[in-house]
């Protein structure tokens, strides 16, 4: 067969192939050479990025397919089941194309950043192998044309996240966090597996052939109708409802939604580029992507514009809203810079899931991509901050400050915060790493939804507007969602401002912050500052930046700038039609389905509400932390305002993790060791067997005694043979193999003889 691999139908295979190839090459050949491994990894993701752009161009401009009815893609036979073959394939429709704009680019930036961040790590090659696999798995997931291939990418990512979170596997807290991530998401995954299995069955019953293709199932009204009409095999309701809820369970695990959100904050144990991978380009985005992809199934039978929501939608709406609000509250009460961002991710994912609950799937995708850009940015910024704080600790020691040992706890502890991550110990870092300070401010503004200018504003506003509309019609679910999301929006703006000001503003609160490592453009910044009005009051010292650090910093800061630009401009393609007259993103994405969702008219009220809340939160943050920067020794005003009780609850994450550990994991482990192994296997099953064996042994003994006492007294000839028999019988328990063989042979011979007689 002659295949033109550069054809838009086959190109997707290449896109996902190259990062996977990089993984293979590094593992098999270049593992000993770090530089070569990095080059291989970068080449893999770089090629994937270029090919993705070509593919996108095909879909958006060059190709002449009638999108919505047709897609780019190709399949190959994968499983013979009965008379039919299950086809495995890739496809690109507008939704996938939009994801292709984000995923490879964000991955590429993270790869470049990792070159700087992982510099000098002993397992550099292993790291680049894993993140290549990670990227390849995500691309597989995005390009899959069926739910099974999607699930393959999904689970491989689960493995990568486990391996990378626990990358520093000599640390107990790291491998514990890896296991926690894998196991928590696995709870959702096994349910999703059942859902996929059930869907395969229903599809095979409907089509007469096994298929899980998105085109066959999702964009086929008859199939969806069949699923709605069929009764579920268990729990009542329709098959569509049960499958939908099972699939949503997968997303609850993967996208870290309540009650399976516990793994994500601990995933910070991994190197920071991994956090950026997990939080932005891959893992958690995958969960939301999947429910967006499956939305026609999840909303099957529902008329959500008129207050009729399907079961999976209600689940998503409620869970998403609870998560968005709960995680935002927790983010306010954290001091670990990465943990603040982790909770903010959970919260933002809650927005997306809740958006799907009220039917706003385009808004959810829009927010997904924007969030990926600004959250990758924020994480990589936090990585620079931590890197420079660690640097500062060494410098401070060299300047004669006492060594502060990190008394790391043994394993995961909920309220422990590593000193270099602690925002309370920072302050004034803007003067040390100005590029990071500025880009992180842009990312933070986008996260907080700073009005009109940032990407985060436009997508978040669209979600709130859609929920507001439903609430205005008097439906309960959108009302609940919009209330939770609005409160969360205010909190988001506040904790973002708190994080930024505590990190970069004011005076250094510790020696480590004072001597923190420097970033690019620092000398220019110092000159600019000292010439300015503020510089007259507090001039900065100019220190030379070591040449070795300069390269590392450049690798880390270059991606920040790229992503900072995207965190601002990525939103402009999706502004509501009524404002600019054109909404290219909406027009493009809506072709994903036949069902052209009717566009809600623009309404000013929800936008005003989100503007007020975003500015209010930011303003409050500025008022508390910006106007009067926290000084050394001062107690955080938020901590003071909340009081020690609430603060401790927040630090302990509402005690949910401890609840799981003490009342779920440990009892089951106890059950395994004490009941399953000891009581059932050892005592009951083996106990019965031993009783049987001893009974036979006893019988043998009895024969022996009978032989000795009774028969020995009678005569010699007969007793001897019986004695031999008894001895032989006894040996059955001691397991002399020749005897058994003899026994079997004799039995066979006897039976044979018997049959011989019978047959004659």
């Amino acid at each position: 067969m002659d295949i033109n691999w550069l054809d838009a139908d086959y190109l997707p295979w290449l896109i996902l192939f190259f990062p996977l190839l990089s993984f293979g090459i590094i593992v098999l050949f270049t593992a000993r050479n770090h530089v070569l491994s990095q080059a291989v990894a970068l080449a893999g993701i770089g090629i994937a990025w270029v090919l993705s752009l070509i593919e996108f161009a095909h879909v958006a401009w060059i190709g002449d397919l009638e999108l919505g009815k047709e897609v780019y893609g190709s399949t190959t036979g994968w499983l013979d089941l009965g008379k039919n073959t299950f086809e495995m394939g890739v496809m690109v429709d507008p939704l996938t194309a939009y994801m292709l704009l984000m995923v490879p680019l964000a991955c590429l930036m993270i790869f470049i950043y990792s070159r700087g961040y992982m510099h000098g790590d002993a397992h550099n090659s292993r790291f680049f192998a894993y993140i290549s696999l990670f990227a390849g798995a995500m691309l597989t997931l995005v390009l899959a044309d069926n739910l099974l291939l999607l699930f393959i990418g999904w689970e491989v990512m689960g493995f990568c996240s486990y391996a990378l979170i626990g990358f520093w596997s000599h640390k107990k807290s790291a491998y514990q966090a890896g296991v926690k991530a894998f196991m928590t998401t696995r709870v959702g995954d096994v349910l999703m597996l059942v859902g996929i299995g059930y869907l395969l069955l229903e599809a095979s019953a409907f089509f007469g052939a096994p298929t899980l293709s998105f085109r066959d199932i999702l964009y086929n009204d008859a199939m969806l109708e069949h699923l709605v009409q069929t009764d579920a095999v268990i729990f009542g309701g329709s098959a569509a409802g049960l499958i939908g809820v099972l699939l949503v369970a997968g997303t609850i695990g993967k996208s870290s939604q309540f009650p399976l959100h516990v793994w994500l904050p601990d995933a910070m144990e991994g190197p920071t580029p991994v956090s950026a991978m997990i939080h932005a380009a891959t893992m958690v985005s995958a969960g939301v992507y999947m429910v967006v992809r499956m939305f026609p199934l999840l909303s099957a039978g529902a008329d959500y514009h008129h207050g009729d929501f399907s079961t999976p939608m209600i689940v998503m709406g409620v869970i998403g809203a609870i998560t968005a609000l709960g995680a935002a509250i927790l983010a306010v009460g954290q001091n670990d810079i990465k943990r603040i961002l982790a909770y903010s991710t959970i919260s933002q994912l809650g927005y997306m899931v809740a958006a799907l609950g009220v039917g706003a799937w385009i808004a959810a995708v829009f927010h997904l991509v924007n969030h990926a850009f600004f959250k990758a940015l924020l994480f990589m910024c936090s990585g620079v901050v931590i890197h420079s704080m660690e640097h500062g600790e060494h410098q401070a020691e060299e300047h004669g400050y006492p060594h502060e040992p990190h008394d790391e706890p043994d394993g995961l502890v909920m309220d422990y915060c590593a000193p270099p991550n602690d925002v309370q110990r920072m302050g004034g870092l803007a003067h040390r790493i100005p590029v990071t300070a500025i880009t992180m401010a842009l990312g933070g503004l986008s996260l907080a939804g700073f009005p009109l200018l940032t990407a985060g504003f436009w997508s978040k506003d669209e979600i709130i507007a859609e929920a507001w509309h439903g609430a205005g019609e008097g439906y309960m679910l959108p009302l609940f969602v919009v209330l939770a999301l609005l409160i969360a929006a205010g909190l988001t703006a506040f904790y973002t401002a708190r994080m930024w000001f505590l990190t970069f503003w004011g005076q250094p609160r510790t020696p480590a912050a004072h001597y923190a490592g420097q970033g690019s453009f620092r000398r220019r910044w110092v000159r600019f500052w000292n010439r300015s009005r503020w510089g007259q009051q507090a001039a900065l010292e100019d220190e030379p930046l070591p040449a070795a650090d300069r390269g590392i910093m450049l690798h880390m800061e270059m991606p920040l700038v790229v992503l900072a630009v995207l965190a601002v401009v990525a939103g402009f393609i999706g502004i509501h039609k009524d404002i600019l007259g054109v909404n290219p993103l909406h027009d493009f994405l809506v072709e994903t389905t036949f069902d052209h969702a009717d566009v809600l008219g623009f309404s000013l009220l929800p936008m005003l509400a989100s503007i007020v809340l975003a500015l209010g939160g930011l303003g409050l943050g500025y008022w508390v932390y910006g106007l009067r920067p926290l000084k050394q020794g001062q107690v955080d005003p938020t901590e003071k305002a909340l009081g020690p009780g609430i603060w401790r609850v927040l630090q302990n994450r509402f005690y949910i993790d401890i609840l799981y550990r003490d009342y779920l994991v440990r009892p089951v482990e106890w059950f395994a060791v004490n009941i399953v192994i000891q009581t059932i296997d050892k005592e009951t099953i083996d106990g019965v067997l031993e009783t049987v064996a001893e009974t036979f042994n006893g019988l043998g003994e009895m024969c022996k005694r009978f032989n000795r006492v009774v028969i020995d007294g009678v005569g010699d000839g007969i007793p001897q043979s019986i004695g031999e028999f008894a001895g032989w019988f006894r040996q059955q328990q001691t397991g002399r193999i020749q005897q058994y063989l003899l026994f079997v042979t004799l039995a066979l011979l006897a039976l044979g003889a018997l049959f011989l007689i019978q047959v004659r």
């Binding site: 994968w78 089941l81 008379k83 491989v156 486990y162 059932i680 397991g735 011989l756 047959v759």
Partner: protein
Amino acid sequence: MFDFIPVDVLTTLILLPLLGAAVVFVLPRDRDDAARWAALGISLVVLVLAIAVFYDVQADPPAPGEWAFEEQVEWFPQINATWHVGVDGLSATMILLTGILMPLAILISFEVKEQVQAHMALFLFLQAGMLGVFVALDMMIFFVFWELGLVPMYFLIFLWGGENRRYAANKFFLYTMAGSLGLLLASQFIGYTVGSFDFSVMFAEWPAYLASGGKVLGLDINVVKYYALLGFVIAFLIKIPAWPFHTWLPDAHTEAPTAGSMILAGVLLKLGAYGFLRLAIPLFPQEWIIERQLFSLSYNLVDVLGLLAVAGIVFGALAAWGQTDFKRLVAYSSVNHMGFVVLGLAVAALMYGTLWANTNGEYALVAGAAGIDVPEGEKISEVVQAAYPVERLEQDRDKANIALNGAVLQMFNHGLSSAGMFLLAGALYHKAHTRDLRRFGGLWDIAPVFGALLIFVSMASLGLPGLNGFVGEYLIVAGSVKFYAPYVLLSMLGLIVTGIYILKGIQKLLHGPVNQEWVEYDRTQHRLEISRREVIAIAPLVVLILITGLYPNWVLQVINDGVMRFLGG
């Protein structure tokens, strides 16, 4: 394509290792290497034959009612037993698995230093036994080879095993022997009743057999059939091993030499599941689905089998989690994984019975199996045919097809991954002389290649998509959810715990701070890194695990042919 072989292929396949065993056994005592390489060479020739058989079946699947490479010669005319061998898709897959694993196991047992000739001869002997079971089309041959597989394994554990080998070997032997007794009695009884030991005759006559007056040997035929079925089922359940007949397995595995564990987990456990497909289900289609009463509780045997499967999945996983001995952990993982095979078998038995009852007009059975209520006074055949039309039957058969495909694929996959796991466990034990997980930790930096291989094979065992284990598990889950939704959901608990014990194994061995005790050991006593010979032995498994995960159809096509023959359609 086999014209160059004077006798037929399958007979050669069995005789070759058997004669090889004899030759290897009498090789001079002072030249151990000769015995090793001879055994390896013979097993490689068998592998080539096995591959040839597999691909011939793939290229030209036997038509229903026929067998590939079928051969029938007179053997034991007094009791109507003949040397009747042949293969279909199911047995071809198992033959391939045996062919693949045996050279690797022999390569691993190069490390054995005592009685090399006997050791190698026993492996070849064992291979003949296993292959014999897979090609047998006659009950007598099946039983003879079934027992032949038992004896060498007993000796391998008893003579070359670990510290507690006597207990383990005897437990293994008594357990399987107890099962074999029932199998022997039941099969002799059936053979005697229908007058032949040939499978085709038995399948054709026994299920519908009704002795005059419904009695045979003075016993009610239904009671007889029930106990005959139990005889088969218990023998096979012990071999699989299904919960609660599994307690021999951890002991046998722990004490067996590495290569013995590989073959035990890789192939011998599959004999039980194969026995279900070849005998226990086709011989007793209606027995499986008849409604029975136990104190006013109505049940059928298929449900019980499914329940045992779930118990195996959940309790096997939990027990594996609780282990501190690495080999015991892997051993219990077999109980967990084979539980999925049993679940698939339960679905197959249910469907086979339903199809049989439908074809033979036993509508009461169909109603019971499909859960159709028959109102009082209506004609049962009409009600059933209305409620369960042919289209629905066909649909259900497609679903059962999926489950059974998954079960057989899972047998094949478990063979690969469990052999790999035992290879790695044994490789470490051979060097460190301990299997206690509490003593390890931080080995990854000392033995990086071992670590990478362990993670890879563990992930296959965990069922990570992209590797082989997932495909089988998925198909079983998908195929069973319609018939046994509660069981499937319960078994998901087991699947979660599967993740825990696999990660526990990895973590206890590899993770944690670099272990100075082992660094010292590695420097002074014995290198802990996996040896080159062991890497060569595991490489084919790694490649097959990956290929089967990415493109399962290379083997599933043949399995599917076998499954289609089995369930029809």
